[in-house]
């Protein structure tokens, strides 16, 4: 029973908006007895980022708040229990479990379900929707065996689903759209065309103006049949044809619902029964259903305010959207379609790089009304703000999409020009004023800290770049000089030091410290300078071994327990039976554990430091070289088997991989480099997850850069299309050298690009158009590094002085580290933990 005097608020639906309502109500008052019914088996999770479930996030990662949060806040939860009836007369709800729960106020947050059109055959196995974690589990299972998949619906969600199928490895993924273009509700025709060609380049097959007449197959889908008589064979179908508000409960209870669905609400989100509210995707406000989280959160705020004597009302919401995860930037804001005579538009189109931008101005050119961005949506947040806040436009409005030419820093200055009331994070309703105040008053200086402070950027994430600009802009305005220095011993960034050492021809760490540093150095600047020196001169790394991280010092990766691993280079992953036998014999002789690495080579673990030179001597005599697995340098160029064996292969990916790996082997870089070459868009070598990846096309090769696996995966981005091998190598030389020269220490290419002002467009300009006029230098510098390649292990093996350093006890070279202990597992050895 409800505690004395506390009114009972019952919430039906524990989705994103239902959860947000609980959070907002609790923040205003705890003088309520909160009871929540959720039909799904788990507490609310982040549906917006649902696709990340395929990318490795677990259901727990996606939760809006852990289960414990509800308990800690005294909320009574009924999960997996749907409400079946509302009895308005007795003010009670009746759940499937038989539970009867009285309410003083009832909040309907039942969301929507995927709309499934009435096509004969939709009930067949293999036909799915994209809405809940359970749906995704089903899709994942189906994708594991499917070869041909299709998505019905070329809207925002459909494209996200299609990209997910592609990423799940469905070899052929089709998008079927009824309208003559993609995303007809968000972007204009020219934008759709550009989007289509970019998606096709990613490997999606797109069919427009297609009406599906029925779904074929005996019990299980095997084909789609279209109105025009054509047939498409598929093993699975994901339907994404829109959403249908879940108003069935409301309808049953006699509440007013819209003709095409949705629970009718007024400006205070009240339904036709004043004790009952509806929020989120189930609510119909002024004839509109809002299928986005931000307006849903705003509705939650309105009801929380109404219940606590506030006066907030809902007055409609901007439907701007930025699409993520499909590998192509897509955004639309304000009114994307408005045209002459009500507006004049400025359009920028670059078919080569696949960028389309359109902005619509008021006829007098003073205001921004809306627009579409395809291929490059960096300007999205700022443009949205400009439109929503009716900011004055620059004298040349085209600068908004072309970027201010000339004077630097203009873009961050304009961020600060936003009015304080400007809503930066619309999901969490955080204003520009609040963000700047957090910086000046609470000393919040990072996006992560800002998320903790006021939740800005935690919803759809679209505003994160703007939040970052605001933080940096405010800090700069405060006079905080954000200088990027190596460590307490050097007042220079890596890039500055790189140039200084080069110009002054300094070749040792001590010389660098004497000229430009102070103190005796440390574990940060020593390896960083080591990497710069290697990037400049490619001298033998062991000559200055005391400044290297231990892996570079002993030319092997230190492992748990203090043993080292041995990884010979196996370029492109190609290895002969004879070479395999050599590796096998060496591993057997020295008692090493062997494992195939993720980079298509063989790792031998558990070597004593004193055995390293002997092991390498045998490997080198058999023709192997160091694999540089220990260095911040090129690891491997993974390859698929390519046209020599694969029936889909367009070119010989293995030969190219071997050539590229041998070209860049041993070169030291700010962080490790990984690469891959695939023989066709099926992408078996996962080249788009690499620092640089190459994929064969009909006409040549596509070059992707700055991708990354690791803890924060990021897809590589397309730098150049359909180029021949000579051009490819030229671009790679420039790209890699530019990275080696300008990245901060221990910064992978993905992060380097993320931080680069101007982003991919800038990088393209430098690498392809030589906008800085340094291309020839970059190529020459790379040539020097390549020319100075040496197998480090060969040098050590042949040099008794260097060899001597590979002992555990210098006063007892024949004694091995007695604390190192091994045990057996599956017939091989493993380290015993202390």
């Amino acid at each position: 029973m409800a505690p004395q005097g506390k009114p009972t608020v019952v919430v039906i639906g524990n989705g994103m908006v239902g959860y947000k309502f609980c959070e907002k109500l609790l923040a205003k008052s705890t003088h309520f007895n909160l009871v929540v019914f959720g039909e799904e088996p788990r507490v609310a999770y982040d549906r917006v980022h649902l696709s990340e479930y395929f990318g490795g996030k677990t259901a727990d990662d996606l939760l809006m708040a852990p289960h414990q949060w509800y308990l800690d806040n005294g909320i009574t939860m009924h999960l997996g229990d749907a409400v079946q009836e509302i009895d308005r007369a007795s003010q009670t709800v009746h759940a499937r479990s038989g539970l009867v729960q009285p309410y003083d106020y009832l909040v309907l947050a039942t969301g929507s379900s995927a709309f499934v059109p009435d096509i004969p055959g939709v009930e067949k196995a293999g036909v799915m929707v994209y809405r809940t974690i359970e749906d995704l589990e089903e899709i994942k299972a189906a994708a594991a065996t499917a070869r041909h998949g299709a998505v019905l619906g070329g809207g925002l969600l459909g494209l996200e689903a299609a990209k997910a199928l592609l990423d799940l490895g469905v070899a052929e993924t089709h998008v079927i759209e009824f309208a003559p273009r993609l995303m007809p509700r968000q972007i204009d025709a020219a934008g759709s065309a550009m989007l289509q060609s970019k998606l096709e380049a990613l490997g999606l097959q797109i069919h427009l103006s297609k009406a599906t007449s029925h779904i074929g197959g005996e019990g299980r889908i095997d084909a789609l049949h279209f109105g025009d008589g054509s047939i498409l064979e598929v093993d699975m179908l994901v339907i994404s044809a829109g959403i249908r508000p879940r108003d069935e409960l409301a309808k049953l209870a006699g509440l007013e619902v819209g003709m095409r669905g949705g629970i009718v609400v007024n400006d205070t989100m009240q339904t036709s029964d004043p004790h009952i509210f509806a929020i989120g995707e189930c609510a119909l406000h002024a004839g509109m259903i809002y299928g986005l989280v931000a307006p849903g959160y705003d509705m939650a705020e309105v009801v929380a305010s109404q219940l606590t004597q506030g006066a907030r009302a809902f007055t409609g919401f901007d439907m701007s959207s930025k699409l993520k995860l499909i590998g192509v930037d897509v955004a639309s804001f304000g009114d994307p379609f408005i045209a002459e005579p009500h507006s004049r538009s400025i359009v920028f189109e670059d078919a080569h790089s696949g960028v389309y931008k359109r902005i619509n101005l008021s006829p007098d050119g003073k205001q921004l009304l809306g627009g579409v961005l395809i291929g490059d949506a960096d300007a999205y947040s700022m443009l949205l703000q400009t439109a929503v806040n009716k900011l004055a436009l620059p004298p040349h409005p085209e600068d908004l999409i072309l970027g201010a030419r000339g004077s630097e820093g203009e873009s961050s200055a304009s961020v600060l020009n936003l009015p304080d009331e400007a809503l930066v994070c619309s999901c969490e309703a955080v204003t520009k004023g609040a963000i700047c105040a957090a910086v000046t008053e609470l000393n919040v200086t990072s996006v992560e800290a800002m998320k903790k402070c006021n939740k800005a950027g935690t919803g759809c994430g679209g505003c994160v770049p703007l939040v970052k600009d605001l933080i940096n802009g405010t800090l700069t305005a405060q006079g905080a000089y954000i200088k990027n220095v190596l460590c307490e011993h050097f007042d220079y960034s890596r890039q500055e030091l790189f140039d200084l050492l080069k110009i002054n021809n300094l070749r040792t760490y001590d010389a660098a410290l004497d000229h430009y540093g102070r103190g005796d150095g440390c574990e940060v600047c020593k390896p960083a300078v080591g990497s710069i020196l290697a990037g400049l001169w490619n001298d033998l790394i062991v000559k200055q071994n005391v400044i290297q991280d231990t892996n570079d010092r002993y030319l092997a990766n230190i492992q748990k327990g203090g043993s080292y691993s041995v990884v010979p280079r196996i370029a492109g992953g190609e290895v002969s039976p004879e070479q395999l036998m050599v590796i096998g014999r060496v591993a057997q002789k020295y008692g090493l554990y062997t494992k195939i690495t993720g980079g298509q080579r063989i790792d031998m673990f558990g070597a004593h430091v004193s055995d390293l030179p002997d092991i390498w001597e045998e490997l080198i005599n058999a023709g192997f070289e160091s694999g540089h697995a220990y260095g911040k340098s090129l690891r491997t160029v993974k390859s698929c088997v390519g046209s020599t064996w694969c029936r889909y292969g367009l070119h010989d990916s293995v030969s190219l991989a071997i050539e590229i790996e041998n070209r860049y082997k041993g070169i030291r870089s700010p962080h490790k480099l990984k690469s891959g070459v695939s023989g066709c868009v099926r992408e078996c070598a996962e080249a788009q997850a690499k620092d640089f990846g190459i994929i064969a096309t009909e006409k040549g090769w596509n070059l992707y850069v700055c991708g990354n696996g690791g803890s924060k995966p990021q897809h590589a981005q397309l730098l150049a299309t359909d180029i021949d091998k000579e051009t490819l190598v030229k671009y790679l030389d420039r790209f890699l050298m530019f990275y080696i020269k300008t990245a901060d220490p221990l910064t992978r290419t993905a992060v380097w690009l993320n931080k680069m002002e101007g982003g991919l467009a800038y990088l393209k300009n430098v690498v392809i158009n030589d906008s800085l006029g340094i291309a020839a230098d970059l190529e020459a510098e790379m040539a020097l590094l390549i020319q100075h390649y040496h197998c480090e292990w060969k040098e050590v093996v042949e040099n008794p002085e260097l060899r001597k350093q590979f002992t555990h006890f210098v006063n007892a070279p024949q004694v091995k580290d007695p604390t190192m202990e091994f045990a057996e597992m599956r017939g091989q050895k493993k380290v015993v933990a202390w």
Binding site: G519, D520, G521, N545, G562, F809
Partner: protein, 116 residues
């Protein structure tokens, strides 16, 4: 360095066994001791070889450096970069317990440590 308790000086290695501005490990009475030749400062140090963080026999393979205005000499463990003062043995960037330091002296090209 002033030592209060009586120590026994044990010869452990030659100066040439330890790389300049680096370290190496010696076996003393069945124990692993890290010897550092901080050539840039003209100083020698000796500590236990075991890093208290994850019990790795690794400090001798660490990077030498200095910290702060006072240029306190330190060594960074190669495993997870915990740093320890070479003077006091204290951990400078975490709450690991302090490491044992030993008195050390060089005579001619012989290195001795003071065994406690």
């Amino acid at each position: 360095m002033e030592t209060l308790t009586e120590v026994t000086w044990l010869p452990v290695c030659k100066t040439t066994d330890i790389p300049a501005d680096g370290g190496a490990c010696v076996l003393v009475e069945g124990q692993q001791v890290a010897i550092f030749n901080f050539a840039r400062r003209g100083e020698w140090y000796a500590t236990q070889n075991l890093c208290p963080h994850k019990q790795q026999m690794a400090l001798a393979r660490g990077l030498l450096g200095s910290a702060g205005e006072a240029c306190e000499p330190k060594v960074a463990c190669p495993f997870h970069k915990r740093t320890f003062s070479l003077l006091t043995g204290e951990c400078l960037n975490g709450d690991e317990c302090a490491i044992q330091t030993y008195p050390i002296k060089v005579e001619g090209d012989d290195v001795y440590i003071g065994w406690l």
